[in-house]
């Protein structure tokens, strides 16, 4: 067998690969764009040798919840700019949410997202298709054809599927296709506000969105999941009650996964007190006890993964009054540091735990048919993120690759960031 040239040799790093229960100091060799060898003291010539002493070598990070805004709002973000932001933040795979204009609700649109992602050639961009045609919540979209085209999951994100009959049919299809339904749990009749319902909203005179609105839809969906046994993923869990419901569902053995966002792990509704719309998102920031429940949920496995819900908006839109400004903030390029602050510094997770929630965790939801995604298994595509856990840096939204600046973390001092991002054996981002 001919000896192939090592393309990248990463030496002396702390290699953490939760999918393979690995956490040890060793070397990793990339050959042919794949993970070729993991061992101590790998010898040989390499195209690029990276000394990772003091650094963490992780499977490429995955963010399964990114709004790329293309097609329709290219002034806010494009698939290429989102992919650039992803690799700058250490993410090798992102899922593109389908609430674009027009929405990603058929095979052609799915192909478009895939081709734009390939053209950008940065992070992997995996499309999420709509559950319903035109995101109207009325008729199923062509889930089967979209899956064949490469859609990894289905969601009407931005809205929950309000009609129980439609949701049941969607889950039946999801079960047949073995794809997850990603639900934005929000009862439509209890929506309409602009922040968490509670004392802060009352004081500020802003319309509230009660946590009950999330939990009502989640409870209904869990009934349907129990009946259909379809894979079901809870997007951006925000309330303590929802964490409990998910924990109970998992105890019953239901095929449920869930994600939490940096903002729900670090901020509470008190942040809305200055009417700064960079604290307006959906679901809204909730109370300190909700925030703690989310951290606990990640610690005990009720919540599987971390996702940014990166939601770009222009400055003009975000300059509108709090009540009418659009929901959403961006954090793709600083998410890793935020997770470290929320989860490692607080003691909720250790490093293998955190990396699991950013690799194997989201892969459990989106990686069916993509063996090796979210792992450093030998033979898998070499998607690798090298993290300097001690790097101290200040978030500067003006330096983002993202086209938008609606980031409440601008100016935050963080510890820990991705220093090298490798996608399929190619270095797409490097601070070394």
């Amino acid at each position: 067998m001919p000896v192939r040239m090592i393309e990248i040799l990463i030496k002396n790093g702390r290699l953490i690969d939760p999918a393979n229960n690995r956490d040890e100091k060793c070397d990793l060799a990339v050959t042919g764009g794949k993970v070729a060898k993991i061992a101590r003291g790998i010898k040989g010539k390499a195209g690029r040798t990276i000394d990772a002493d003091g650094l963490i070598v992780s499977p490429g990070l995955i963010d399964a919840h990114v709004h790329c805004r293309e097609p329709g709002h290219e002034e806010e973000e494009t698939i290429a700019s989102a992919a650039a932001a992803a690799v700058a933040g250490g993410f090798t795979t992102i899922c593109a949410m389908p609430n674009t204009h027009p929405p990603i609700d058929d095979e052609t649109a799915v192909n478009y997202v895939i081709s734009r992602g390939q053209k950008a050639g940065l992070a992997r961009v995996l499309p999420v298709g709509c559950i319903t045609s035109r995101r109207e919540g009325k008729e199923l979209a062509e889930m089967g054809m979209m899956k064949s085209a490469g859609a990894v999951a289905f969601s009407d994100d931005g809205d929950g599927v309000a009609c129980s009959g439609v949701m049941l049919k969607a889950l039946q299809y999801a079960r047949m296709l073995d794809v997850p339904i990603m639900q934005h749990c929000q009862d439509a009749d209890l929506a309409g506000g602009s922040m968490n319902a509670g004392p802060v909203a009352v004081r500020l005179g802003l319309g509230g969105m009660a946590a009950a609105g999330e939990q009502i839809m989640l409870r209904r969906d869990l009934e349907l999941v129990e009946r259909t046994k379809a894979r079901y993923h809870v997007l951006h869990v925000s309330s303590a009650g929802s964490v409990d419901l998910i924990r109970q569902a998992k105890a019953l053995g239901l095929p449920v996964t869930a994600e939490a966002t940096p903002h729900h792990l670090l901020l509470t509704d008190e942040a809305c007190a200055t009417y700064d719309s960079n604290y307006k998102m959906n679901p809204p920031l909730r109370s300190a006890s909700d925030m703690q429940a989310l951290r606990n949920g990640l610690a005990d496995g009720a919540i599987d993964s971390l996702a940014s819900d990166h939601a770009p908006h222009t400055e003009e839109e975000k300059e509108l009054e709090f009540g009418v400004a659009p929901f959403g903030i961006i954090s793709l390029e600083c998410a890793l540091g935020l997770y470290i602050k929320a989860l490692i510094d607080s003691g909720a997770l250790d490093w293998p735990g955190l990396i699991r929630c950013m690799t194997a965790g989201p892969a459990k939801t989106i990686a069916s048919g993509r063996p090796g995604l979210g792992s450093l298994s030998v033979g898998a595509d070499a998607d690798i993120t090298i993290i300097d856990p001690d790097a101290r840096w200040t978030v500067d939204a003006n330096s983002f690759a993202s086209l938008s600046r609606n980031c409440p973390y601008h100016g935050w001092k963080l510890k820990g960031r991705a220093v090298v991002t490798v996608v399929a054996g190619q270095i797409k981002h490097s601070l070394l």
Binding site: D189, L190, G192, A197, G198, P199, A201, V202, R203, L204, G205, L206, G207, G208, T274, Y275, D276, E316, E319, L320, E321, F322, G323, V324
Partner: protein, 332 residues
Amino acid sequence: MAKREFSSARSSAPVEAGEDGQFVWTRKDLLGLDELSERQIVHILDTAESFKEVSTRSIKKVPALRGKVVGLLFFEDSTRTRMSFELAASRMSADTILFTSKGSSVAKGETTLDTVRNIEAMGVDIFVIRHGQSGAPHVIARKVKSSIVNAGDGSHEHPTQGLLDIFTIRQRLGRVKGLKAAIVGDIAHSRVARSNIIGLQKLGAEVVVVGPPTLVPPAIKEMGCSISHDLDEILPQVDVVNMLRIQFERFTGAGAAFPSMREYANMYGLNAARLKRCKKNILVMHPGPINRGLEITTEVADGPNSCILQQVTNGLAVRMAVLYLVSQAAEK
């Protein structure tokens, strides 16, 4: 409280001493009562006291704001507040410019901030802003240099209304501390309620809010007041009752907030029969405009316990005081 004399000569303005360690007003904006201390609220009331006399003169004008421009920006309908501010500004000899959103560039899609920045570029010293969105003046205040006076933002605060209500209570009942006040009706959507709850409590009054649970959010308790759904139980206990207008225009979400106007008037309307069970000197207030027959009957609104028109009169003095104080602070 000692009544201060207001001198028409600006150089000798009595309330702005300072050099000898006296209280000095330093806020260039008035966004809400939430941000004010008890002492600052009392200072505005005392300043208003000194301006009240101006309106009794045959020539109702002082030169305190001569050469200043007050921009009245009303992004939401208003009659009495707008006219009150306009008159207050002209009695202080300021020039006023008026902007209302109807038929304006807002309809063409210009943002509030762009509108304000454009008008500021014309050279405006004080903006008086009424806006349908909570927090709108707060965001504007961070982006412009002119003084901002909140003339009511969404369901958040209406600080000059709160001040004139407290001013009127102090005038009629001689004190605020130790009084018990009921605020009745649409608490959920009322900026008048919030400014009253905050201001009255800061000055030592006790506040109970009364209304159906659909219009009284439980979390309002965290602002320090108590909650009741039974008007008849509360009325005999209170010294002041402030009847709010039902803000149908702010109702959102599924269904109406109460089954019918008839039932609402029956349960929460102030009528002569209810007034009889109140303390003899109970002060009946209403921020206007009144829905006669719904939250208050004509008999009560126009009766001897009512101070509704006095509130309007006092509003002028309070607004003169506010414009004067923010203008002084902006000059420092």
